[in-house]
Point group: C2
Chain length 394, copies 2
């Protein structure tokens, strides 16, 4: 039997596909973490990554999953018995509540329906009723595709005298995070999303107010202690208190060069805007409903509702087992109800055509009445109108 | 000017050099952590690594430095206000005391002189005077080269009703760790030493008694919570509670195949015995003193005292800047007083000849009266007597 599906496509919102140059640098020989050749890479990464957070803060780096950087925020900011507010609108927001509990907070977990945004007015009301020392929430909720207005939410938190810590794990590098301009106390992120690296590096960009609160209540943490890592990173040359993930920093160095120098951060954001818009237009052309509010800033991952009559759990399965394309379905209560098309990181126009084309074919195989090519055509129009392909004819 | 030094040699006790096959697998495309192709790698690694710990325990894996696995032991075993005993004989042992403090223990830090072993009789005396719930200590103290008799130490700890947690970060895979036979409650390790992988993966092999103690006192931890990770790893197929470091597991899978299948664990240990012996014999032939007790089990890293009249800090500098060979000097109070020749992981006979040859040349350049080739010859004799080279003539 002829088998036309011979290539593998990684199309999840983390781990995301790696640029070949990023993959290849990890095949280079290992370096001692205190050797000048590595220290140069380490220092350059720590310096450059500030541009992605749009901050002058120290961006603290940890060898861990993104959740490790979230833990650093809880461990450094939460004090046993004091009130911490976790506001969630999906799976990753709920992790903040679990972290606050683990570190002994009097946790207030305000749950917003999955697939809706956390509105600043709602935060205002909640903090008015139950003040808290620190607010924890999510910028891009990977489980639903929702992107929150963290600028507005930060204003509200500060009005109530609270610090705010934002999980930007899947957002950083895909959509703007103007940490300093928006006055966000803590932003955490991971390497395996829009930073185009493998999983295993995590970051916490921490302002003076947050560092101060942490230093006033030492102990109960060690590996993720901000002061310990900040002290090491502020040395000249910078020095990690624990052996850094050398290979992943080598990867990050290449990725940051691509993001900041080759493509440029604004262009990266514009590309993600286009990828998000093309995906939403494709879904609409297929009469599929976007899960969550239609939002021109929701450009990290697009959640699409599974149409009635289709077994939603089978869509990622058909795409993976038959077409060798890995996309994610829904998690927890959304299992079988949505599929998620990722476009954060090393994704281009033809990845969206591939994902949408495969989705059309999978829906067709699963008995849904779908006009093949209609979604693809809608995405094509978005790209053509934007002037893509931009390559100069020979 | 002719430049004969054109190649770089990584000769530190972590990060250690990577086998080419390990490096190269990290240049492969990224995988989704829940895709069958990765789950197979993850499950195989979790299964196989038990053989290196010589245990039937679950070996819990974390995306972190080795210190993260140490933190997991402190966070899961230490209870605020209860007594924990950290026994140190070097820099890494002291980290245990810092961790116990951070997690609120009533820490007893018993310090043994750097460069000496922790004797079981001394532990017996200390525990007799000040009982503790948990004892934390080090198998191979990377800062001094000393290897402790953890089997004897575990017996003493248990006699006093204490659990024992052992840092085997630099030892695991270089020298035998028979966790189950020696009845060690917790053994922690990292990827970047004898496991021949980049830094960024850490392991805690935890027996039932330790898991039970942890489960009796939940909270105060999340990312490094043993129960959370054990629950995920015990699923079929196993699932990490946080995004695993996919690329590092791909590397570990190749490295474990080399250790367990290609070379065989006993052969790996024998190779390390030979490398350690050759290094010690070389030092003796050069009239250089080994730092610490002469010990046929100290086969992870050999610390050599800097001879009188030589500026010890300059030896690694000359070797690095002139010969492009990275070795480590002494840390903290041993700065300038020792150099450390590593032989844990992907090291062979000619790495020892290179390291010793370079040390002879550096000492000569620094004005020390050294018989060039004398140390090399001593190492050669060790290898020849052991039947190396073993390659069959064509």
């Amino acid at each position: 039997m002829t088998e036309p599906y011979v290539k593998d496509y990684l199309m999840t919102a983390g781990p995301t596909p790696l640029p070949p140059a990023v993959s290849q640098v990890m095949a280079e020989p290992m370096l001692y973490h205190r050797a000048p050749a590595f220290v140069e890479v380490y220092a350059r990464c720590l310096d450059r990554i500030k541009q992605v957070f749009q901050t002058d803060n120290d961006v603290l780096a940890f060898a861990s999953s993104g959740s490790g950087a979230m833990e650093s925020a809880a461990a450094n900011l939460v004090r046993p018995g004091e009130r911490a507010l976790a506001v969630s609108c999906g799976k990753f927001g709920e992790r903040w509540a679990e972290l606050c509990d683990a570190f002994g907070a009097q946790t207030i977990h305000h749950q917003v329906e999955w697939g809706t945004k956390i509105e600043p007015a709602e935060l205002d009301r909640v903090l008015g009723e139950t003040p808290a020392e620190v607010v924890f929430l999510t910028l891009s909720e990977t489980s639903t595709g929702v992107v929150n207005d963290v600028q507005g939410l930060a204003e509200v938190a500060h009005k109530h005298g609270a610090l705010i810590a934002v999980d930007a794990v899947s957002a950083l590098g895909a959509i703007p995070v103007n940490q300093d301009e928006w006055n966000i106390d803590v932003v955490v992120a991971g390497s395996q999303k829009a930073l185009m690296c493998p999983p295993g590096l995590a970051f916490a960009s921490v302002n003076e107010a947050a560092l101060k609160r942490a230093s006033e209540s030492p102990g109960r943490r060690y590996y993720f202690d901000w002061e310990k890592t900040a002290k090491g990173q502020r040395k000249d040359p910078p020095d990690s208190p624990f052996t850094p993930a050398v290979g992943l920093f080598m990867a990050l160095d290449v990725a940051l060069e691509m993001i900041l120098e080759s493509e440029g951060l604004e262009n990266v954001f514009n590309r993600h805007r286009l990828l998000g818009r093309a995906t939403r237009e494709a879904a609409k052309a297929l009469d599929l409903e976007i899960f969550g509010p239609e939002d021109e800033n929701a450009n990290v991952v697009t959640a699409i509702k599974v149409p009635d009559g289709v077994d939603g759990g089978k869509i990622p399965k058909v795409m993976r087992d038959r077409y060798r394309i890995t996309i994610a379905g829904g998690q927890n209560q959304l299992k079988g109800k949505i599929v998620r098309i990722a476009h954060c990181g090393y994704f281009g126009a033809f990845d969206i055509l591939t994902a949408i084309g495969a989705l059309e074919m999978a829906l067709s195989e699963l008995g849904h009445d779908v006009e093949l090519g209609a979604g693809v055509a809608a995405a094509q129009r978005v790209f053509l109108e934007a002037g893509v392909p931009a390559a100069t004819p020979a």
